[in-house]
């Protein structure tokens, strides 16, 4: 058993990223797509903080992780407002049924 190093953390974030992509592709409900995006942002944050510890960057990685969390909060608020409007207009939030702009 090797000692815990950078690779272990990067592996966890890789798995999180791929699960997030899988969620975004396969789920129909718009809120579930948002959950997939949150998973991806979390995996990016793990990378930032892992490189902040194992690389020679000082605290910059942690600052970037903080900014990502702030942007995720703003993104979630806006996205849910949009989802609520979509529900009012179409009475559904399934992303495959909202295709009026395709015609």
């Amino acid at each position: 058993m090797t000692q815990i190093g950078l690779n272990h953390f990067l592996f966890v974030s890789t798995v999180l990223f791929c699960l997030g992509i899988f969620g975004i592709i396969t789920r129909k409900n718009a809120v579930m797509v948002l959950m997939g995006i949150e998973l991806i942002l979390n995996s990016a944050n793990i990378n930032f903080i892992a490189f902040a510890k194992y690389g020679n960057f000082g605290y910059q990685g942690q600052i970037m992780a903080l900014f990502v969390i702030i942007l995720a909060a703003a993104e979630a608020a806006i996205a849910l407002a949009i989802v609520l409007n979509i529900y009012k207009t179409f009475s559904t939030v399934n992303v495959d049924e909202i295709d009026t702009m395709k015609d």
Binding site: V12, G23, A76
Partner: protein, 162 residues
């Protein structure tokens, strides 16, 4: 195997397993609750990496804010009387194959790369240093993010109420 390793494997298992259930459970409310465990696991990983302030921010913002917001989104966009709050799925097989291939490529790149690592000594508390960085080196970004959050909140409120 040290206690550090054990704790890492515990948090990594919590994170990965609950994330797996987030994207495979059909009930949206259950998915939101599994997401809670994912966020807790990720916060634990942050602590293991010496980022205690980020871990607390993760708990406060994600668990206290974003997760509640997502649950509100689920509740407001489904008929409450409908017990079955389910989500449909599309193209599971092609998506699984594509994502597995992508994961393989990422994993191979990860293992093949010869990362030059130094084990930098992160002090016990990072809050002091992060606070100084935020108001000195990153002051402009900090202010811009404040304005961005204000704009996002006003925009979200005005969009949601008309």
């Amino acid at each position: 195997m040290t206690i550090y390793d054990l704790i890492f494997y515990l948090f990594a298992a919590i994170t990965v397993i609950s994330a797996f259930f987030v994207v495979t459970t059909r009930n949206i409310v259950y998915s939101a609750y599994y997401l809670l465990f994912t966020f807790f696991g990720v916060a634990g990983i942050y602590v293991l990496l010496g980022a205690d302030f980020i871990a607390v921010v993760q708990l406060v913002v994600y668990v206290g804010g974003i997760l509640i917001l997502l649950l509100f989104g689920v509740m407001l966009t489904n008929r409450i009387t409908n017990v079955q709050i389910k989500t449909g799925t599309i193209k599971i097989a092609p998506a699984a194959i594509g994502v597995a291939l992508f994961a393989g490529i990422l994993g191979a790149a990860l293992l093949k790369t010869n990362w030059k690592t130094i084990n930098s000594e992160i002090p016990i508390s990072t809050t002091h240093t992060l606070g100084l960085l935020l108001i000195q080196q990153y002051a402009v970004v900090f202010e811009l993010l404040g304005i961005l959050l204000l704009i996002a909140l006003i925009g979200a409120a005005s969009m949601a109420r008309k």
